[in-house]
Amino acid sequence: MADWSGYLNLILQGALVTAQLTVYGSILALAAAFLAGLGRLSQWRAIRWLSTIYIEFFRGTSIYVQLFWAYFVLPFMGISLSPMAAGIMALGLNVGAYAAEVVRGAILSVPRDQYEATTALNLTRFQRMRHVILPQALPLMLPTFGNNAIELLKATAVVSLISLTDMTFQAQIVRAQTGNTLIPFAMILILYFAMALIISASMRLLERRMTRGLDGVR
């Protein structure tokens, strides 16, 4: 019979890769989201356009196609990324494009009243953003950011298609080596779910900390 402890260990190694992809991808996504989200609200048209093009391109094409491009086509342009880097880039930029809209939406949903109050108090645009709007918009973004991070986690399963040894890929190998389908797939389902729970729990924690004493904002 197959050496199950060894194979399960293999899946755990894959889980580590999945976790790495999720963490680094999320960091890239967060940076991209704030750049592009604030960019779309910029007073300079060129920046608005650039942000819009980035967002629409990455939301418009499938994460799938983006991965294949990053992995198979970019090398022809002289950019050869390691599978890990290609995976992080495609996942981060893809999810970042969605999260950019979250940033923009949260900023726009701070009531107009608050903008008017800052005008009446004669704050500059930058002061308004820094001291009044962002502190109120951030707690609004967090729940959706949590969802975005879970989306990213799930999308990492797709990188098995560019032969990055993540959890799903390892499960496929274990399946090929042992001939058993149920055990490896059930195991990774549980692992994915556990990771998703960790993400949403930490987001809730963060949200609670940020909105402390802020009940009744809306």
Binding site: Q114, L214, D215
Partner: protein
Amino acid sequence: MTTPIIRINQLDKSFGTLKVLDGLSFDVMPGEKLALIGPSGSGKTTILRILMTLETISGGHIEVCGEQLYHMQKGGTEVPANEAHLHHMRRHIGMVFQHFNLFPHKSVLDNVTLAPMLTKGEPKAKAEARAMELLDMVGLADKAKSMPSQLSGGQKQRVAIARALALQPRIMLFDEVTSALDPELVEEVLLVMKRLAAETDMTMLLVTHEMGFAHEFADRVLFFDKGRIVEQGPPDQIFRNPEHERTQTFLRKIIAAGHRV
């Protein structure tokens, strides 16, 4: 004779095709307390918002403290004011809103000190000392550390007044500052405003539906309808002896609805 602190001259304002202010002209003297009354939609809020530069204007001129508000000189010709000019002019003006618009993520004290520290670069200690004085004046010194969500409506509105005063504007605008409050809480805000009116020589413009308060508070009452001034004069004249028919019906309805004038 002193010169007016606000001069409004042939002011037009349209929203799309809707003409909200129509060739409006009036002056306000330094220290004057003005009440703006009139039916819903007559443009009272719009005038205050224009003075606070929260809107743009469609035509006409406004002069505040001797300078154009929405225009400036550039190479000898008059051009629309840019953000820097508006920023410069807004020093003179403060506003209190119907829904308070406090910053919900900042404590009461921080609400009051934020603008002086950011716009005037006041050191924290000085801004806080002054804020405490103001909070004391509105009777809320003990709430300095509270968050706005922990206050009642009347308390929030008093904080909003303190916040606007912290910048020491020469002109204060009040837009229906009590109409979002429970009736029992109205009094505490009106008390603060009466004291303010009596103790300072600030110029004040007040929009209200509280006719009794307008009567006590104002030196002069302007009655608006459809973006124009229908009638103006001292409160006794407007409330006891309105000349114009529109003013008479308006006051009659308000009284029928249970308000004292």
